[in-house]
C-alpha cells in the first residue's frame, strides 16, 4: 500500500510492503464492517416521531445475540490475529534476527547531528589503512549485501533509510548490527528517527547507490572524500 508513496530500494522492502498490504486488507475488512454496522444501526434505530420505542432485550435474547454478534467475531478476530502475528514475526525474523552472508561491512557512527560512515575501501578489510571515512555521505554498490555496525557517540539516534525500509536505533555504549541489500541505484535520504536534541531536524545524510563501475571509480580516488585513519 505504501509503495505508491515511496520507492522500494532494498531486497526486503517488498517483504515489509507485502506485510503492510496483509494488515491493510485484514484490518480494512473489520474496520468497514464495524463502521458499516454502526452507521446502519444509527440510521435504522433513530428516534422518529411516532416511531417504535426502544425494545428491552432480556437476558435470553441477549445471550443469543451475544453469541451471534460478539462470540463469532471474537473468534474470527483471533484467527486474523494469528495470521497477522505469523506474518509479522516471519518478516521481523528475516530482517532483524537473521544475518545472511554479507559481502561488505559498513560502520555507521551517529553523533549529535552528523553521521560518520566508515567504508572498507578497496582491500575489503575494515580498520585497514585504506578505509574511507565520509561524513553524511554513504557510497554503496547496488546488488551487494552489506552488514552495518551501528554505534552512537553521545545520545540516542536512529539510522533510518525510508526507501530501504531500514530503521535501527543507535544506542551509546552498544554496537547493533544489521544488513541490507540495495536493489536500485540512485541518491536517497537518510534520516534520524530518534529525537537527539536541537539538531535532530538538520542531520540528514545522503546515500549513493552506485553501479559497480561508478563505485569502483569512487573507490579509486577517495581523495575527493575525507579519507583519514579512524
Amino acid at each position: 500500500m505504501i509503495e505508491s508513496f515511496i520507492l522500494q530500494a532494498s531486497s526486503y522492502a517488498s517483504q515489509i510492503d507485502a506485510l503492510i498490504w496483509l494488515i491493510v486488507i485484514i484490518t480494512g475488512v473489520w474496520f468497514f464492517a464495524a463502521e458499516g454496522i454502526f452507521f446502519w444501526l444509527l440510521w435504522r434505530f433513530r428516534a422518529r416521531p411516532g416511531g417504535a420505542p426502544a425494545r428491552y432485550i432480556d437476558d435470553h435474547e441477549e445471550h443469543v445475540l451475544k453469541y451471534k454478534w460478539i462470540e463469532i467475531p471474537h473468534r474470527l478476530i483471533l484467527v486474523c490475529d494469528v495470521v497477522l502475528i505469523i506474518g509479522a514475526i516471519t518478516v521481523w525474523s528475516d530482517i532483524k534476527l537473521s544475518m545472511p552472508a554479507t559481502d561488505e561491512t559498513v560502520r555507521i557512527t551517529a553523533q549529535q547531528w552528523a553521521w560518520t560512515f566508515q567504508h572498507v575501501g578497496p582491500d575489503g578489510q575494515m580498520d585497514t589503512e585504506d578505509d574511507i571515512v565520509s561524513i553524511d555521505e554513504m557510497h554503496i554498490q547496488v546488488g551487494k549485501t552489506y552488514k552495518f555496525e551501528l554505534m552512537a557517540k553521545d545520545v540516542l539516534h536512529s539510522f533510518s533509510v525510508p526507501v530501504f525500509r531500514l530503521k535501527q536505533d543507535a544506542i551509546p555504549g552498544r554496537v547493533i548490527t544489521g544488513w541490507f541489500q540495495p536493489t536500485i541505484t540512485g541518491e536517497f535520504d537518510v534520516q534520524c528517527a530518534e529525537i537527539c536534541g536541537i539538531g535532530h531536524g538538520i542531520m540528514p545524510a545522503r546515500l549513493y547507490v552506485e553501479t559497480p563501475e561508478a563505485h569502483a571509480a569512487w573507490l579509486a580516488n577517495p581523495t575527493h572524500y575525507l579519507a583519514y585513519k579512524f
Partner: protein
C-alpha cells in the same frame, strides 16, 4: 426545586456560610474539587493547543515567523512538541477524565455524600496545581524548556551538555513526579470510595460502568506508576548530582529508562482510555433508551484489557535496541490485546440495536468517540506487528495513530462528559444548536488534520523534525501541500473552540435552569437536585436494581431509576 447556582442552601446538616476563598479554593466538597480539576485541565488544554498551533504553523510554513509566537527555532520546536505531548496526557487527559469526572461522579453514582478522605482529596488537587505551575515555569527558566520528547529518553534528558537546556529537564521531571504523587493520592480516594461506600443494596454489578472504568483506571495507574517514580528519582539524580544510572560510560544503561518508562507508558494509555469508555457507556444507553449490551462482557473485557496492558510495553521499543527475540514476544501480546478492545467496541455498537436513538449533543460526541476510536484501534495493528513497525516507527503514521486514540479520549470524551453532566454540575442547560455547530466543525477539523498525517507518515515523514526542506525526498510540493492542509484544518478546529467556551461559561449563569433528571436517566446522580447540595442526597438512597433498566416492558415511562422502590 431549581436552586440557583450562586447560593448553596441545603437541608443536610448545619453549614455556616463559607467565605469566597473557603468555598472555591479551600473546599473539601468533591463537587468543587471536581470543578477545580476540570477548569485547570481545560486551561492547560488551551496551552497545549497553543503549542500545537505554533509548531503546526512552523511545519506548514517553515522558517516564517508564526503570528502570536515569532520565529520557531530547532530548540523551540522540540520544547513545544515535548510539552504539547506531556501537557495533553498528564495535565489535560488525566485531570479532566479521571480526577474531574471521578471526583464528581463516584460519590454521586455510588450514593454517598462525599469522598472517603475529603482533605486528602483537596491535598491531591493542590499538589496537582503545584505540578502544573512547576511545568509552566519550566518555559521561563534560563535555557528554555525541556526538549527531549515527552518520553525523556536519557542520555539526552540526563545531561545538560546534550540537551543544552540546563534547568528545563529537572523542572519538567519534578512536575511529572508531583503529578504522579497527586494521582496516587487521588487514586486511593477513588478506589476506596467506590469499593467501600456503595449505597445499601448496591451490589458490585449494580455499579454504573463509568464508576467501574474510573476505578480500574486508577488501579492500573497505581500498579504501573511505581517503576517510573523510581526511574524519575534515578533520572533526577543523574541530572542534578551526576550519578550514572543511565550513563553507558559509567555502568548505567539508557535502555533501562525506556523499559521503566514504557512499563508505565502502556498501562497509562489504558488509564486514560477507560474513563471515556465509561462515559460513552452511560451516554449511549441513556440516549438510545437501551440496556447496556452484555454488562458482564464489558466488565470482564475491561479487566482483561487492563491485565494484558502490562504485557505489551516493549512494542514502543521494537527497534530501540531491545533484543529482537523479545520484540517477537511483545508483538504477539500486542496484536492479541486488540481482541478485548475490539470486543468492547462491538458490545457498545450492539447496545444501539433495537434502540430509539435521539441525537442530542452528548450522544453525538459519544457516537463520534466510537467511530473515531475504531480508526485509532485499527491503525494500531500496523504498529503492533513488529515487521511493519520497522518502517512505521517514529514516523507521522504513529503520530496519526495515537491522535486517533488520544483525541477521542481527551477531547471527544471530555466534550461528551461535559455536555452530558453539565446540567447536573451547574444546574443549567448548555445551548443545543451552538453545541451541534461546535461538534461538526471540531470533528471535521480533527479528521482534516490527521488523515493527511497518515499519508505523510507512509511517505516517510519522521517525527519531531522541524524543517523538512533538508530532506529532498520529503520536500516535494505534494507532501508540503498535505502539511499545509493539516495546519489549515487545525486552524479551523481551533477557531470553533471559543464557541464552546462561550457556551460553557455563559450558560453557567444565563442557561435554561435544569431539573434534576433532564435526560431521564437511571443512575443515582440524576436522583438528587441539580446542582447537588453539600451532602448530595437527602435522604441517602437505597439501590434496588442495575443502572441500565431502560424500556422495561409493562412500565409507563421508559426509565427505572436505581433507587425507586417500585
Amino acid at each position: 426545586m431549581a436552586q440557583s447556582h450562586a447560593h448553596d442552601d441545603h437541608a443536610h446538616g448545619d453549614h455556616h456560610e463559607e467565605g469566597w476563598f473557603l468555598k472555591y479554593f479551600w473546599s473539601t466538597d468533591h463537587k468543587m474539587i471536581a470543578k477545580q480539576y476540570l477548569l485547570t485541565g481545560m486551561a492547560l488544554g488551551v496551552i497545549g493547543a497553543y503549542f500545537a498551533y505554533v509548531f503546526r504553523m512552523q511545519l506548514a510554513f517553515p522558517n516564517k515567523p508564526v503570528p502570536g509566537y515569532g520565529l520557531v527555532t530547532g530548540s523551540d520546536y522540540n520544547a513545544l512538541v515535548t510539552n504539547h505531548g506531556a501537557i495533553m496526557i498528564f495535565w489535560v487527559a488525566m485531570p479532566v477524565l479521571i480526577a474531574a469526572f471521578g471526583n464528581f461522579l463516584i460519590p454521586l453514582m455510588v450514593g454517598c455524600d462525599d469522598m472517603v478522605f475529603p482533605r486528602l482529596n483537596r491535598l491531591s488537587y493542590q499538589i496537582f496545581l503545584i505540578s502544573a505551575i512547576v511545568l509552566v515555569s519550566s518555559f521561563f527558566v534560563e535555557g528554555g524548556a525541556f526538549g527531549g520528547a515527552w518520553t525523556a529518553y536519557p542520555p539526552l534528558s540526563a545531561k545538560a551538555e546534550y540537551n543544552l537546556t540546563p534547568l528545563g529537564p529537572t523542572l519538567w521531571l519534578a512536575a511529572v513526579a508531583l503529578e504522579f504523587v497527586a494521582f496516587l493520592l487521588g487514586g486511593i480516594n477513588f478506589v476506596t470510595t467506590a469499593m467501600n461506600s456503595r449505597a445499601p443494596g448496591m451490589r458490585a454489578l449494580d455499579l454504573p460502568m463509568a464508576v467501574w472504568m474510573i476505578v480500574i483506571a486508577s488501579i492500573l495507574f497505581m500498579c504501573s506508576v511505581g517503576p517510573l517514580i523510581a526511574g524519575a528519582v534515578m533520572l533526577m539524580f543523574d541530572q542534578t548530582i551526576g550519578t550514572g544510572f543511565f550513563d553507558p560510560d559509567r555502568g548505567g544503561d539508557p535502555v533501562l529508562w525506556q523499559h521503566l518508562f514504557w512499563f508505565f507508558g502502556h498501562p497509562e494509555v489504558y488509564v486514560v482510555l477507560l474513563p471515556p469508555l465509561g462515559f460513552v457507556a452511560e451516554i449511549i444507553t441513556t440516549f438510545s433508551r437501551k440496556r447496556l449490551f452484555a454488562y458482564k462482557t464489558v466488565l470482564y473485557t475491561t479487566i482483561g484489557t487492563g491485565i494484558l496492558s502490562f504485557f505489551v510495553w516493549a512494542h514502543h521499543q521494537f527497534i530501540a535496541g531491545v533484543d529482537p527475540r523479545m520484540s517477537n514476544v511483545f508483538s504477539v501480546t500486542t496484536v492479541l490485546i486488540s481482541i478485548p478492545i475490539a470486543e468492547l467496541c462491538f458490545v457498545y455498537i450492539a447496545t444501539l440495536y433495537a434502540g430509539s436513538i435521539s441525537f442530542r449533543v452528548p450522544m453525538l460526541w459519544a457516537l463520534a468517540f466510537i467511530a473515531e476510536f475504531l480508526v485509532g484501534g485499527v491503525t494500531g495493528i500496523f504498529l503492533g506487528a513488529s515487521g511493519a513497525d520497522i518502517y512505521f516507527h517514529d514516523t507521522y503514521f504513529v503520530v496519526a495513530h495515537f491522535h486517533y486514540t488520544f483525541f477521542p479520549i481527551a477531547i471527544i470524551g471530555t466534550f461528551a462528559g461535559v455536555t452530558y453532566w453539565y446540567p447536573k454540575m451547574f444546574g443549567r442547560h448548555m445551548d443545543e444548536t451552538l453545541g451541534k455547530i461546535h461538534f461538526w466543525v471540531t470533528i471535521a477539523g480533527f479528521n482534516g488534520i490527521f488523515i493527511p498525517l497518515f499519508i505523510l507518515g507512509a511517505a516517510g515523514d519522521h517525527r519531531r523534525i522541524f524543517d523538512y526542506s533538508n530532506f529532498p525526498e520529503l520536500a516535494s510540493p505534494e507532501l508540503q501541500a498535505m502539511r499545509v492542509f493539516a495546519t489549515v484544518s487545525l486552524l479551523v478546529m481551533l477557531a470553533v473552540q471559543p464557541l464552546f467556551a462561550w457556551n460553557f461559561f455563559r450558560n453557567m449563569w444565563k442557561g435554561k435552569v435544569a431539573e434534576a433528571n433532564p435526560w431521564n436517566a437511571n443512575t443515582l446522580e440524576w436522583q438528587c437536585p441539580s446542582p447537588p447540595p453539600h451532602g448530595n442526597f437527602n435522604p441517602m438512597p437505597e439501590v434496588y436494581r442495575g443502572p441500565y433498566e431502560y424500556s422495561q416492558p409493562g412500565r409507563a415511562d421508559d426509565f427505572w431509576p436505581q433507587n425507586s422502590p417500585t
